[in-house]
Point group: C2
Chain length 321, copies 2
């Protein structure tokens, strides 16, 4: 079933006040270390390094009541931040959540959003450890993820792809873009396309894949957030290498092909330019880590290619586009 829409009932943020909003969030995503000026946490592994990343989501731009629910938005805000931590080969241990929202917004929206946040912090055995709430003209959510990088292996970096390496990916590619296209089409969406819509509303990534990849000899990694060709382009440029992807490995699956027919769109555009799958993509010396598949090789020739040629589509997300 496809669910969309934000609650429009019950007391507003203004009516319950700052303390009421904080209580709604904390009861939806409880943590024993929340509630002081700052959260204190002890990384589980001794001698571990700390990893941190932040992302901001703006209502109407990154999400919309037409296409998702506050629960989805809360989940997605955590997933996209935790994907950045996983892409370093680290384990997410905590999230901080800052929210700016109109005083007239029902507190039920923030409550549902916090339940989404709590569901995902739980999935990683991590906690929502702090945050801030304030009023503003539009709903803006900022999540900061903290991770722990145990052991002595290097972090998985954008500049660590080396010629001759295997290029690998874990998870779906193009599903989120296809789901958004279906939602934006205004057509009634056939039930079989629900996995695509769900992937847009909240991409699912498997906790711990980044740690597995790092243990298994991956050296470079990122997540597919702005578009596959664009993200591999960043990796290639930063590593001063080329990336040659395989059209067979990337070939749209049956669901993407069918959705392409349904909307009269070439599904390759979703695969190559669609971001927000937050699929881990990287390079490794040996065979693909468990859960990853090979999708290409690292070359000496700069740029991103498919079977040695220019990709048919190269677009992607641009924040001020």
């Amino acid at each position: 079933m496809i669910r969309t829409g934000f609650p429009d009932f019950g007391p507003t943020l203004e009516e319950v006040g700052e303390q009421g909003v904080i209580e709604a969030i904390v009861s939806a995503a409880p943590s024993a270390i929340n509630g002081d000026d700052a959260a204190v946490f002890t990384p589980a592994a001794p001698n571990s390094r700390v990893v941190a990343s932040t992302d901001m989501l703006v209502g109407g731009r990154h999400f919309s009541p037409e296409y998702s629910t506050p629960f989805h938005v809360g989940k997605k805000a955590v997933v996209q931040n935790y994907a950045d931590i996983e892409a370093m080969g680290a384990r997410p241990i905590a999230a901080l959540l800052a929210i700016s929202a109109p005083p007239s917004m029902p507190v039920a929206v923030i409550e549902e959003l916090a339940r989404g946040v709590g569901e995902m912090t739980d999935a990683w055995s991590s906690e929502l450890v702090g945050g801030d709430v304030t009023s503003g003209k539009e709903l803006v959510i900022s999540v900061t993820a903290i991770g722990s990088l145990g052991g002595n292996l290097d972090a998985l970096r954008l500049d660590r792809a080396r010629p001759g390496q295997r290029v690998v990916a874990h998870g779906k590619l193009g599903y989120s873009a296809a789901g958004l296209a279906l939602l934006q089409s205004g057509k009634e969406i056939p039930e079989r396309f629900e996995p695509l819509v769900h992937a847009h509303q909240c991409p699912e990534i498997t906790p711990g894949r980044g740690v597995v990849a790092r243990s298994a000899g991956a050296t470079a990694m990122t997540d597919n957030s702005d578009g596959l060709i664009k993200d591999f382009g960043t990796m290639a440029r930063r590593s001063e290498v080329g990336i040659d992807l395989s059209s067979v490995a990337l070939s749209p699956d049956r669901l993407l092909v069918e959705a392409g027919h349904f909307l009269d769109v070439d599904p390759w555009e979703w695969v190559l330019c669609g971001g927000e799958d937050h699929t881990l993509i990287g390079t490794c010396d040996r065979s693909a880590p468990v859960g990853f598949r090979s999708i290409g090789t690292v070359t000496r020739q700069p740029g991103v290619r498919i079977d040695g040629d220019e990709p048919k589509y190269t677009g992607g997300w641009e924040s001020f586009g």
Copy 2:
């Protein structure tokens, strides 16, 4: 000299694009560990714990071109977050900066803001290690501060005030509120009141005071962000104690008294209800730590008092008020 106003010239965010905006920020506040999916950093002290806090600032609500410059806003965003880290007795080591801004905004605004951020991260020998930029209807800034809590002493917590302890403070009280009142009055501000205006535009706190207080036997600490009586009220409630402040110790200084005459306001209101000084306030067993002064005692009788009586003013900041 009092400076206010945001730049309204030069290329816009839309014109330089996401990459251009990021380059402007990174060149204003450079860090060797910025630029990957997440920042990796190694706390300087072995076996240290990690501390994190986040705050969101919304244009028109937390700051305004009428009253400050982007440089002030950038500095203040860091100071108010680092004050939360200091209030745990920890050392700020890194900041993350997420910005949402209208595409039509000149990139010079963000550049100047990032210079303010860089000046303050520098002052603590810390770095701006990551962030996010996106477009939105209004300027929203979210800073997350990461700190390091070395050694085995407990963090300074809101719930650790104990009857019989001395109550201490480091820094000015009421200056920020007086400065805001002067700016809001619309009057021409006499030069002698500039320290008050500057305290509002960017409160100055001394790096390391929280660490000093923790070493010197402080147990509870917070910063004066929402209002002195309100913040001590939180500490008293969480610690299940009372706080009795001394009117002599809190008595408004000459500058506050003069500004009170100038605006026909009782300066005690600024001292007791004004937040945003980000002055460290806490409790300790022994004499006041270096740089702190005694301002009262911890009692068994719940609530916050002045010389044993109800405070004359008790208001403070409320996010959805």
